[in-house]
């Protein structure tokens, strides 16, 4: 039953499955109905599930999340779309002060199974505020789970797992990988639980840790390095909260070296947490310090400069070389 799907279409299929499987699931967002979303991720869903379940909302991100919280209190399982990463900050208060804390402050009486879908990251030549990587803000916030698929198979399963989860989940979609294709068997069971990382390429000289849009870059870098005789293992984190540090540490114990990468600024980014954990867990096995390669501590630049801002294959391999040189 495997079918070739883009990552965008895989999310669409996952949403469709969830809508079919649970009448309490409903979708809300800007332009998600008639238009099918600006990236067409919700294409056809309003037609098939009706305007009551696939709801075009006013242009008000804070209320998109706030209303989802209220609906969740009423027993619904809302999936909201924030149209672009740079627009989620308007909803930051509802996400951090309300969504993340509701379960704890109600001593577990109120569950808010809200999924916040956000297309994130750069690389598509977009205008300002359309290329942000806000994952660390959310991963830093207790009460939220944060996941991000790197490929269509994970996208299909992870979005359903996020919706089924009783906790609020920030679901980050790597927008420059929306058009990546893969065979997706929609009848297959999910290969992994939501919180697990996965070794996506085996190697023995160094562990390259990535997630979302950077996984493909790292796989390409590993392939290029192989021709130079370097064997790189690539770990796709998949979940940023919780972080599956066991999978990362097991890998680094074998390879002795670790490079962590993401598009977001490396300063206080996800890589800092991974590096600290690896330093602690793999202290005696490490052959070199854990190095990071990612965005700079600048606002996301105009798109004509983004290829220099985003860590590409060459910058990843340059960092790999520095790690190997110790």
């Amino acid at each position: 039953m495997a079918e070739t799907l883009t990552l965008a279409k895989a999310v669409n299929s996952g949403l469709r499955r969830s809508l079919e499987g649970d009448p309490k699931v409903l979708l809300m967002g800007e332009d998600i109905g008639r238009l099918g979303g600006v990236f067409r991720v919700t294409d056809g869903l309003q037609k098939d599930f009706g305007e009551d379940r696939v709801i075009d909302t006013p242009l008000a991100e804070s209320s998109i999340v706030g209303a989802a919280i209220g609906m969740a209190m009423r027993g619904y399982r809302p999936v909201v779309e924030i149209q672009f990463d740079g627009f989620v900050y308007v909803a930051f208060d509802q996400i951090v002060s309300q969504l993340a804390k509701m379960h704890a402050r109600s001593s577990g009486r109120v569950k808010v199974p809200v999924t916040v879908r956000i297309p994130y990251g750069g690389g598509i030549g977009a205008v300002e505020h359309h290329s942000e990587s806000p994952e660390a803000y959310f991963a830093h916030t207790a009460g939220l789970r944060v996941v991000t698929p790197s490929n269509p198979v994970d996208a299909f399963h992870l979005v359903q797992q996020a919706i089924a989860c009783d906790d609020p989940v920030v679901f980050l979609e790597p927008k420059r990988r929306y058009w990546d294709k893969a065979e997706v068997d929609e009848t297959a069971a999910p290969p992994l639980p939501m919180g697990s990382a996965r070794v996506v390429r085996s190697g023995h000289d160094l562990t390259l840790v990535a997630y979302g849009p950077m996984v493909r870059t790292c796989l390409e870098a590993a392939a290029a390095a192989e021709s130079d005789g370097t064997s790189i293992e690539v770990v796709d984190l998949r979940s940023l909260s919780p972080l599956d540090l066991d999978t990362v540490a097991q890998s680094v114990r074998r390879t002795g070296r670790c490079v962590v990468t993401h598009e977001a600024s490396v300063f206080l980014g996800m890589a800092a947490e991974v590096a600290a954990a690896v330093a602690q867990e793999c202290f005696y096995e490490l052959q070199s310090p854990v190095l990071r390669v990612g965005g700079f501590h600048t606002p996301y630049p105009p798109s004509r400069l983004e290829e220099h801002y985003l860590p590409d294959l060459d910058r990843v391999l340059d960092t790999v070389d520095r790690a190997l040189a110790y």
């Binding site: 804070s62 706030g66 208060d93």
Partner: protein, 363 residues
């Protein structure tokens, strides 16, 4: 352009004057029995006692903070008693009177201000959401809940409480828009108590707040917020209208915060005693008391028994507050997530082990 007047008697709905005289209003007729009026007075009286007792407990160091409702009893009891089973209320942090009407034990509220819990009650059981501290955040949630009622075809409504300060918040204005375009069964109940901590109403608005409703596409009405009968009648009317599918409404209950913003505030720094004195003549309890006397609906034993009931309640709150159990240190991990979370589970285990390393008396 002249600034419109905010004079309290400028066109608001009043069914009981400060002197205790009944006024009829053909738009908002109130069919109410003598027993119901006596019950309303009991609510007002006991809620005021809860507030006074909590303020005293804060002064004694038993509570970290208390947000007084003094002066707003009628607004809250009138609105609270208009809600029926299946309706949902979304409060700020000052809706102790609504909480009372929804059957939330005041002692539970005190736990919040003592610091033994951040919540304390089951919103579904009481039809009363948790207190919301961040100003206005509850409004979009209330609309979402109302949309859920709509989706369920439930014949109920939501009432969401906020203040004059909150009327400036983006979330509140967004929620007006959402309620309007989705025709959600939600009544916005604004207690305009004239002060947002130290900022007067004039810093929030140039027009009477209730008039904003028309710009959003639904009716607004200003009521005498110190008149429990007006608050009850107009709330009942707007809630019923919402339950029947006629959509949202805004009620501006014109009232006054007689106390401080919270026990940490000092209102003598920003307002005149004479203003407070003028509002004392509009006291929400006195007018009901006068009415009960004049109509000979009660005898002295009614007030004596109520005093005794208030004393017992106060004693229960005093003893109960001091007896509220402190949460145990590992409790903070318990509900951070609904499902197991590897990091929280590990931190709980490590912290529990750390705590266990101390002798019991040191913990």
């Amino acid at each position: 352009m002249a600034i419109p007047t905010h004079a309290p008697d400028d066109g608001f709905v009043q069914l009981l004057t400060p002197e205790g005289e009944r006024v009829e209003n053909s738009d908002f007729p109130l069919d109410i029995t003598d027993d119901e009026i006596r019950a309303l007075y009991r609510d007002l009286f006991l809620v005021r006692r809860v507030d006074a007792e909590a303020t005293a407990l804060q002064r004694q160091g038993e509570l970290g903070l208390w947000a007084q409702l003094l002066g707003q009893e009628a607004a809250q009891v009138g609105a609270g008693r208009a809600l029926v089973s299946g309706d949902m209320a979304f409060p700020t942090y000052r809706e102790h009177g609504v909480a009372w009407c929804r059957g939330v034990d005041p002692l539970t509220l005190l736990g919040l201000f003592r610091g033994t819990t951040n919540g304390g009650w089951d919103p579904e059981e009481h039809g009363f959401a948790l207190y919301t501290i961040v100003i206005g955040d509850q409004c979009p949630q209330a609309v979402g809940y109302a949309m859920g009622l709509q989706h369920d075809r439930a014949e109920n409504a939501v009432m969401v409480f906020f203040g004059d300060g909150a009327s400036s918040q983006g979330d509140v204005n967004e929620s007006f828009i959402w309620a309007s375009v989705f025709n959600a069964p939600v009544v916005f109940f604004c207690q305009n108590n004239q002060w947002a901590i130290s900022e007067p109403l004039e810093r929030q608005t140039r027009i009477p707040l209730f008039q904003r409703a028309w710009g959003f596409g639904f009716p607004g009405v200003r009521i005498d917020g110190n008149d429990v009968l007006a608050c009850l009648a107009v709330s009942r009317h707007m809630l019923q209208r919402a339950r029947e599918g006629a959509g949202p409404a805004l009620i501006e209950a014109f009232t006054y915060r007689m106390g401080a913003h919270t026990t940490s505030d000092d209102p003598t720094r920003y307002r005149l005693d004479s203003d407070v004195e003028a509002w004392r003549l509009r006291d929400p309890l006195e007018r009901v008391r006068s009415f009960l006397h004049k109509q000979q609906l009660v005898d002295q034993s009614f007030f004596t028994e109520l005093d005794e009931e208030a004393e017992q309640l106060a004693e229960r709150l005093r003893a109960g507050t001091r007896a509220l159990p402190n949460p145990l240190p590992p409790d903070m991990f318990d509900h951070a997530y609904a499902e197991p979370h590897a990091l929280v589970d590990r931190q709980r285990a490590e912290f529990s082990q750390y705590v266990a390393g101390f002798a019991p008396e040191e913990v």
